[in-house]
Symmetry: C2
Subunit: 142 residues, 2 copies
């Protein structure tokens, strides 16, 4: 079921037409879930503007929108932990997108593969994974 | 790596303490991604209030919050396509939650297992799966 990689080139007209059908919210955002394409691991959830999704489709490198910095966020630009797009899939009402990606290294700024490591269990949160890389090393402060 | 099912009971005090740490947005919502616990298939993205997440942890049946209806949405209450919780995992900044679930039947109101079936490809959107059930049959109008 895994689509071929890398993502094929989508021309400007096709991208524009598909992006016209995306239901961005009042702030111009859509929720994006990144999943490692072959293992199925859910890596992270972040946000995209039309510009971010367009760049992602055009370049094949995942670009989010940072709400805190109010700017495009080219994933891995600082850390090198890039995500290569394999396929983007909109949901049934086109207000969320699933990104099948090839994750280089780790997705999480804590140095873990996945951001979803805080299991809600009896007794409180339990970490389901340990960092593979020191967070400082990811951002050149190590 | 799959946690045991069904989800263990979490007592009121532990639930309250963990929910206090969740970063709901200005509207009191958190994005929730449902994933079939054993196959890794991403099924859907929806929203939860504190009350919805608390009910989900308490009952072991996934309950979302419908933004369009402004009400709790007990997944499968009408259609029978329920999601049994296996484990809920918060992300690194605790403003998104991954729900590992056992999906009965189909997650999508179109009758597909997953809501993410609109692949963005050269030429336009391409459906990656067909309905397994007629949508009308899901809601008693068949």
């Amino acid at each position: 079921m895994t689509p071929p990689s890398p993502a094929p080139v989508i021309d400007d007209a096709d991208r524009a037409r598909m992006l016209d059908g995306v239901r961005f919210d009042a702030d111009g955002l859509i929720a994006a879930v990144a999943q490692q394409h072959d293992t199925g691991e859910v890596l992270m959830l972040a946000w995209m503007t039309r510009e971010a999704l367009d760049e992602t489709l055009r370049t094949g490198q995942v670009c989010y929108y940072s709400r805190s910095r109010a700017a495009l966020w080219r994933k891995g630009e600082t850390s090198g932990q890039v995500q290569r797009l394999v396929e983007a899939r909109l949901d049934c009402d086109r207000d969320a997108v699933l990104l099948l990606v090839e994750q280089t290294g780790v997705a999480c700024h804590t140095g873990r593969r996945s951001c979803f490591f805080n299991a809600m269990r009896p007794g409180g949160l339990a970490e389901t994974s340990a960092p593979l890389v020191a967070a400082d090393a990811l951002y050149g402060r190590g």
